[in-house]
Symmetry: C2
Subunit: 123 residues, 2 copies
């Protein structure tokens, strides 16, 4: 498929898809005329990329991580280097701390929301 369809199917802008390619996160064949031609599994990959961005990983780390992931085609999935594994473990811990903070903040919001739903405020 071409970039327009991929953008539509993933909900990611064409701009971002080109950026992902530039960062080495996503590859594409080219037509003789130079237009990008994506494999079917690019869809899943783009979704993953978005998730990892949302998790706070930077493109550089995602670029290292992606080749080590089991793709939908069940390919060989090379094993990560110890160095990368250590970095990923650090990212995971960071994510855990982030989640804890988010849940805490959510509780704070809930308290304000809850207080407003009581007729005359808490006694």
């Amino acid at each position: 498929m071409r970039i327009g369809e991929l953008a539509r199917r993933t909900g990611v802008s064409e701009r971002s898809l080109r950026y992902y390619e530039q960062q080495g996160l996503l590859s594409a064949e080219r037509t003789p005329g130079g237009q990008r031609e994506y494999h079917e599994r690019a869809v899943d990959r783009v979704v993953r990329i978005q998730e990892l961005f949302a998790a706070g990983l930077h493109s550089k780390k995602i670029a290292q991580l992606l080749p080590c992931m089991r793709d939908t085609d069940g390919g060989p999935s090379p094993v990560a280097t110890p160095r990368l594994v250590a970095e990923l473990a650090a990212e995971r811990d960071r994510i855990d701390r982030t989640v804890a903070g988010l849940l805490n903040s959510r509780d704070v919001l809930d308290e304000v929301i809850g207080a407003a739903s009581e007729p005359t405020g808490p006694r």
Copy 2:
């Protein structure tokens, strides 16, 4: 206390503390010479502000939210307007979605980390 101590006690830079004041998130008395003088409870407030920033709220929304929160002094805590409550509920839902995404990404990381810890890779 003055700004240096507050920065030291909260781990937040002086630059950021001044920014919080500019955004209406944090107030301070002034000495005759114009230097900021903070109440003791500014410490808790700064911590909260950081949490809310980490949760993805923008300073404008935090500025609306803070006056509605029960402070450590157990003050009056005015009730949020229905409009603000609706916005906060939206933020809470966004946080929930973010958490779900983070946990998902964490699992993805764990899979790669786990695969690397197996002697010859998965069968």
